[in-house]
Symmetry: C2
Subunit: 163 residues, 2 copies
Amino acid sequence: MTEGVPTGTDADVAAVTEANLALYTALEEGDLDALTDVWVSGADADDVHGAVCVHPGWPVLRGRASVLRSYALIMAHTDYIQFFLTDVEVEVLGDVALVTCTENILSSGDVETEGELGPLVGGRAVATNLFRRTSEGWRLWSHHGSPVLTSGGDDDGEGDDEG
Amino acid sequence: MTEGVPTGTDADVAAVTEANLALYTALEEGDLDALTDVWVSGADADDVHGAVCVHPGWPVLRGRASVLRSYALIMAHTDYIQFFLTDVEVEVLGDVALVTCTENILSSGDVETEGELGPLVGGRAVATNLFRRTSEGWRLWSHHGSPVLTSGGDDDGEGDDEG
């Protein structure tokens, strides 16, 4: 145990895990309303502690409006996407929770015939998701996703490779 | 002002900004000792709240040992690197601080003549750096860096593009 550091309860970890899943479910379903609920809002999302988001390969987006607009754009250009999360780790420190996970992504590629889905393509990204405890529950404060480009080594083993 | 959210003082923001700079200075100088001091350590770096790091294109590294080993590897393969940080934003929430910034990177490319530096190449990445307030000052809890691959639009303007 870490002395002096307020760790989260099992209930906290469960609630954060659920909030993290809600992000990906909203993306899979193309549900911008649900996605909106995932992010910090109202008095929790002002200039001081606003939403911050980095999509894979993108620059930093700051502020709830910019972030939600980016998701609307992504959803408009995504016919099908599914996330298989692996290596999910949740750490709660007081009113902040840090989640890291691997996003194994299955999505539709370029459309060959209008009205049909393109061929399914797989991809892998990693995400650092930072949540805040608010009066309405855990809400996403910061999302940073990036493509995994390296192929060497046993990536999955790295998480357990602590000395 | 956000009601009910403990924002940081100017001194907090200054201290976090300095801690963030120390990360990049340590990398520029190839100083692994200094880099070690930047990260959470000892009782602050156990399994529950250990160091978490994502280098651009890499999978998630967890635990102080894994993270520091990765930096040793990067330093061993880097003859010269310089960071010009832009768009730095610091948000302090209680004992946690979230820093986002753009890393404009100048580094030496492939060496043409042994003993000399290769041609300088530029690159751009964005980072989400999460710090914790410890008894020894602000220490890095999580670093996530990713390459900026998109070229379209006025990226620098995005930060101010809040509605």
